[in-house]
Subunit: 332 residues, 2 copies
């Protein structure tokens, strides 16, 4: 019987996620039954939402217990198959967690097409990131030429897509990020009209200077102080799209609302939540639209790659320190 490596939760994270909160373990791979496949993972995703079950609080998913393997999506190749529809060599997307190999029923997995698109993209622009950014810009906020959109975590996976989708619509785009390098990347590479390093500058003052008549739209990935700054800068009738609150995920009370919530009433704002799960029924059409934009060069997709399953915990922890540009991905 062969063994697989998997990463388990070693202890519940404290105020900050640390690589030491996780431990590598070996686990036996069972023999294949009819309908099963054995998969070798090649790419694995680490995403901010994975922080949410790692508390005792109510979250989007049931809480994880110490000793449980970490959950999440990966792309791999079928090594051995007892499922005729998914033969050896097939490329598959799975939700089997942080591990290098696994055995599972083929019906649990999604076969991916073989194309010139990197398989890793199904964990980002054609996965969670795209299924968040696209509906956020194209369905929720729908900014138009003449309007200004502010995007927080603009250099991140979702944010960098949101910025580009909005620019395509002729919108003036502003962004925030956590380093001067990222701010330069946003302006020089993504062509943003303005960007602010939230660690060194006052985001509220930046927005008020850039938008003296008020901000039209805000795409919120981070919550917390940046959401409050945006609330203060919005014009009456402005729109806010909410898809994440990463600045709060290390807090015990990540579910809490902004300090200046009452501004929504005063300014008559429209605040809409969205997430990739809710967009899933429209996944194929959204993916088709994104593939078209990627192939035409209208959309660029940036990945930061970390090598080795053993480095996934450190990569995950770095998400909350704001160190990645684009999508953080682990190559196994």
């Amino acid at each position: 019987m062969s063994l697989a490596r998997e990463i388990r939760l070693a202890r519940m994270p404290g105020d900050r996620v640390s690589a030491d909160d996780f431990v590598m373990a070996e686990t036996p791979l069972p023999a294949l039954q009819d309908g099963d496949v054995r998969v070798r993972n090649m790419w694995m995703s680490v995403d901010p939402y994975m922080r949410l079950p790692l508390t005792g609080r109510k979250g989007v998913r049931p809480g994880l217990s110490v000793g449980d393997p970490m959950f999440g999506a990966a792309v791999g190749v079928v090594e051995e198959s007892r499922a005729p529809a998914m033969p050896a060599g097939a490329l598959v997307l799975s939700q089997k967690g942080w591990r290098d190999r696994f055995v599972a029923p083929a019906s649990d997995l999604q076969a991916l097409p073989v194309s010139d698109i990197s398989p890793s993209w199904y964990l980002g622009v054609l996965g969670l990131s795209g299924m968040t950014a696209y509906p956020g810009v194209e369905e929720v906020l729908r900014p138009v030429a003449g309007e200004t959109l502010f995007v927080s975590a603009a250099a991140g996976a979702v944010g960098s897509l949101a910025c580009q989708l909005a620019r395509r619509r002729g919108v003036r785009v502003l962004g925030s990020a956590g380093s001067d390098d990222k701010v330069a990347w946003l302006k020089d590479e993504l062509g943003l009209d303005g960007a602010v390093n939230y660690r060194r500058q006052d985001v509220g003052a930046f927005l008020k200077a850039e938008c003296p008549n008020g901000l039209d739209c805000y795409f919120d990935n981070v919550g917390g102080a940046t959401l409050d700054a945006a609330l203060g800068a919005m014009r009456p009738g402005g729109r806010i799209g909410l898809c994440g609150a990463i600045s709060q995920y290390n807090d015990d009370n990540y579910r809490a609302g902004p300090a200046d919530f009452f501004t929504i009433i005063e300014k008559g704002l429209v605040v809409t939540g969205f997430n990739a799960g809710l967009a899933a029924p429209r996944g194929p059409e959204i993916a088709a639209a994104l593939i078209g934009l990627l192939q035409s060069g209208e959309l660029r997709w940036k990945e930061t790659v970390v090598e080795g399953l053993e480095n996934a915990p450190a990569a995950f922890a770095s998400l909350f320190e704001g160190e990645n540009v684009g999508k953080l991905i682990v190559r196994i």
Copy 2:
């Protein structure tokens, strides 16, 4: 020189507004200049929003100082005029605060038509209350037959209008109120499909029992725990209209968001703020629509009348104890 009576802020209210926070004073009435009128107030409004400047915190209006007269709307009659367009005997709506008489430029005032409508209604259903409830139901939430709408403070001025407007649209309407008498009134007089006494029952449990598949729409007058209960009961994609947070107005942090704000992201909710000020440009058309509904009997307007300017502070304080049914109004 004649004297007018006015009510001033005697001290900044503490955790609860009290009649003792105010004091009656006499103030001289100046002689009329060209363009001025002297008005004798007949009806005066006390409204929850008046609590907001009575703190040191940022609010919808500049904060009031101790010794300042209280602000707000009143309806009165012109006693003496040096403004040809607004002769003695004219009925006028003013924003000159809690006082029995005043002198002001006619251009500051709004002449009201003489009709079979009680002048006091311009302080409620044809004023702030109607300009909040109507856009909230007809423009923001737009509930349709087959949907369920929950209204908090449903027996209040805005809430009782919102309930009736929604019922006209064929919507199933649920409401909350702070006494068994109000709950009975909501069911027996306004025809609500269900109502809950939030002081004695668990609002979240009530909503989940009434809406096993999730609540479609929530019209929020109160914020706080009731908003959190509604967030927990909403269906994915549900709509929330926010126009007030009276349960928080006695708090120092009345601007704060709900504890379970993150639910907006998880469920993809649409949360829209609105208020009477933002609806002002559409005021005439909204008033015309409301007058039509009142005259046809499709809409009923309930007032609770307090007699005497000297009793306005106690009436105002009672708003936050949930004692009034319909619109609380002071007859001078």
